[in-house]
């Protein structure tokens, strides 16, 4: 599973992307966000405001309650500020 990070989430973790094996117990986006919080100091800082973080599954916006299913790429980012 490829995890990709943008903006201040990328800066706090110190990574643009990584490959990760997710535990079988993770079934929703929210489970994944909680798992991320427990992966060390940088991740705890990046994912502390879990509710504000947006997630995309294979380049589609997802809700925190959505199931992960068999996606290839999961992106984490703050609310968008383009335009």
């Amino acid at each position: 599973m490829k995890l990709v990070y943008f903006a201040w989430i990328r800066e706090r973790i110190g990574l643009e992307e990584e490959e990760a094996e997710l535990p079988d117990t993770i079934s929703t986006v929210d489970d994944l966000l909680r798992w991320q919080q427990g992966r060390g100091e940088e991740y705890a800082a990046a994912f502390s405001e879990k509710e504000t973080i947006r997630v995309a599954l294979d380049q589609f916006h997802a809700e925190h309650s959505d199931p992960l299913n068999t996606v290839k790429e999961i992106a984490f980012f703050p609310p968008m500020t383009g335009g």
Partner: protein, 153 residues
């Protein structure tokens, strides 16, 4: 319909002319251009860097164009250009062009596309201010409210 993500600047007049492409059934062309401002509140902006998620930005903007096309069947054509990288005050950031036989469709579709772009296209702005600090721009509730009006029937 097309979407371009690029670091380079664009020429608004040339883009409108190219999109019309000599067609004579077009009665209206609306363009919106977003620019980098030099002040935020009382702070002077030195530059602004746009980060984006390339694969998703392209796909999401294409989905926004398709949604506009579904809502306004009389929308003849559209173009979205969004820049990335470091920009200076006065620089162009984004261009939306809509074409139709009549003006109402072009105004409405352009506004719809900008409202969706601001809240759904994966771009993030980071500003450098005069005292040397830099910070990520926060999303504004105003943009979410602008989007919400399109959900009314």
């Amino acid at each position: 319909m097309s979407v371009r993500l690029q670091a380079e600047d664009f020429d608004i007049g040339m883009e409108i002319e190219a999109l019309v492409g000599g067609r004579t059934d077009i009665g209206a062309a609306v363009s919106f251009t977003g620019l980098v401002r030099d002040m935020i509140g009382d702070q002077r902006i030195l530059d602004m860097t746009l980060e984006h998620y390339p694969a998703m930005a392209q796909a999401e903007l294409e989905r926004i164009e398709i949604e506009a096309q579904n809502r306004w069947p009389t929308l003849t054509d559209s173009l979205i250009i969004h820049r990335y990288g470091t920009l200076l005050p006065g620089d162009r950031i984004v261009l939306v062009i809509t074409l139709s036989s009549h003006r109402q469709t072009t105004f409405e579709a352009a506004e719809f596309m900008m409202d969706f772009l601001k809240t759904r296209a994966p771009f993030w702005k980071k500003e450098t201010v005069q005292n040397g600090g830099s910070s990520w721009v926060e999303a504004r509730d105003k943009d979410d409210r602008a989007l919400a009006r399109w959900h009314k029937t």
